[in-house]
C-alpha cells in the first residue's frame, strides 16, 4: 500500500542538505507552510537557494529562515512589503543574493520545470532592463524573451486536504504557487490541515494529483503568519 504520510514536520525535512534549492509555497501569508519552514530552521540546513514570490514578513516563517542566515539566495518577484524587514536589511548589507523574476514568469518557469519544458518565450520584460542579456526572438512580428525552467530539490507546500497517496486540495487563494511547486521539485513535502483516507477526496476535486507529492504530514491547526505577526511573535 502506498502511504506517503510521515509522522512529524521534523522528519519530513530531515534530509534537506546544505546548499539545496527549496521552493516554498504561498503568496505573502496565504498558503505559507509555516510549520515546515520552522522545522527547516530547527533542522539548520544552510546555504539554501529559496524560491517564493516574496521574502516573508515579520520575524516568523520565511523571514525567520532568512533571518537565521540559512538562505544564500532568494528567487522572487516582490522581495519587500510593508511588513518585511529581514530580507531588505540583509540585502542592503550585501549578505544575501536576489534574482528578481516577474510574477507570471516565475509561475511559468516553475510550471515548465514540472512539465519537462526547458524554456519558453514570453513578451513579459521585453524592452526592459530585466530582459538584458536574454535571448529574444520574434514570433508573428512581435519580440519575445526566452526564459528557462526553474527546478528545485525540495518543495515545502501547504494544503487543506490530503490523502495517503498525496492527492491534494487547497483553500481559496492559499492555492497560489503551491500546485506548481509540487510539480517542479524532486522531493515535494506537504503539510495538510486534514489527512483523510484514500477515497475521501472526490477524484473530480483533486487539484494536485498524488504523483507530484512525496511526503505528507498532518498539521491540523496551522498557525498563520499574519496572526503570529499581530502577536509580535518571532521564531525560533
Amino acid at each position: 500500500m502506498i502511504n506517503k504520510q510521515v509522522s512529524s514536520v521534523a522528519s519530513a525535512v530531515a534530509d534537506i542538505p546544505d546548499g539545496a534549492t527549496v521552493m516554498v509555497g504561498g503568496f505573502g501569508a496565504s498558503g505559507s507552510p509555516i510549520e515546515l519552514i520552522h522545522a527547516l530552521i530547527d533542522h539548520g540546513a544552510k546555504d539554501l537557494t529559496v524560491i517564493n514570490n516574496n521574502t516573508g514578513n515579520g520575524e516568523v516563517g520565511l523571514a525567520a529562515l532568512i533571518g537565521n542566515r540559512q538562505v544564500r539566495k532568494m528567487i522572487c518577484s516582490f522581495p519587500r512589503s510593508s511588513q518585511s524587514k529581514v530580507f531588505p536589511e540583509l540585502y542592503k548589507e550585501g549578505l544575501i543574493e536576489l534574482e528578481l523574476v516577474p510574477q507570471g514568469t516565475l509561475a511559468e518557469r516553475i510550471r515548465a520545470a514540472g512539465a519537462g519544458i526547458p524554456a519558453f518565450f514570453t513578451p513579459t520584460t521585453v524592452g526592459t532592463v530585466l530582459a538584458e542579456g536574454k535571448e529574444t526572438r520574434d514570433f508573428d512580428g512581435r519580440p519575445y524573451v526566452m526564459e528557462p525552467w526553474l527546478k528545485a530539490d525540495f518543495a515545502l507546500i501547504k494544503c487543506e486536504t490530503a490523502d495517503p497517496v498525496g492527492n491534494l486540495t487547497y483553500n481559496k487563494t492559499a492555492r497560489n504557487f503551491n500546485p506548481l511547486m509540487c510539480m517542479a521539485a524532486t522531493t515535494t513535502i506537504v503539510q495538510t490541515r486534514k489527512l483523510v483516507k484514500s477515497g475521501d477526496i472526490d477524484p473530480e476535486h483533486v487539484i494536485t494529483p498524488g504523483i507530484f507529492v512525496n511526503r505528507v504530514v498532518e498539521v491540523s491547526d496551522p498557525v498563520h503568519e499574519d496572526t503570529l505577526i499581530a502577536e509580535g511573535r518571532r521564531y525560533p
Binding site: F27, S77, L98, P102, R111, V129
Partner: protein
Amino acid sequence: MNAAASTGWNREQMAARAAQDIPDGSYVNLGIGIPELVAKFVPEGREFIYHTENGMLGMGPPPAEEERDLDLMNAGKKYVTAVAGAAYFHHADSFSMIRGGHIDVCVLGTMQVAANGDIANWSTGAPGAIPAVGGAMDLVQGVKKIYVITQHTTKTGDPKLVEHCSYPLTGPGVVSRIYTDLAVVDVTPAGFRVVELAPGITFAEVEEKTGAQILPPG
C-alpha cells in the same frame, strides 16, 4: 462644494471617470492604490468581474473585520471576499489569463507614462533601492487595454506625463488612456491628446503641466 473641490478631479472622481470607459461584462484587473477605487464606481447596469493575480476571478469588496478569512486575500495582500460565481485557480492559470490576452482591462497607477505609451511604474532605478516587480510586467504585456490613473504631476510638481520615461520601463508602448486629476488623455500615434478636461481646468493648464507635446481635444 468648496472652491478647491470645484476644479479638477479628486481620487474618487478619477476612478469613477475611468469606470465609465469599461464595458459591461469586462474582466478587469485593478492595481493597488487609486485603481482599487474603480470598483466603487461601476456604472448602473454594468457588471465587471475582477481578477486578482494570486488566483481568483470574482473578487468582492473587503469583509468586515470579524468575517475575515485568512486564506482569502488579493494581490495587494489585503483581505477580500468572493462574489457568487467566483473561481479559484493556481498562479500559472492566473497568469495565463493575463498573458494569454483573456483579461480585458487593467487599471494601473504609475510613476511616469510617455507620449508613445511607455510606462514606468515598478522602480526608480535608484542605487541601493530593492527592486520589486511583482506582476506589473506581465499585466502591461498581456492585458488587452492598459489604463492608467495618476495625478498629473508628482508631489513636487514634476510632470508624470513625459516625452521619455527617465525611470526603468515596465513595458514599452502599452498604455491606451490616462486619467489624471486634470484630464483624460489618450496615447495616439501622434502622442498625447486630451479627450476631456476636468471641471474648471483649461487646456493651457494641462499643457503647462505635461512634460511632452499634448494635443487639444477634438
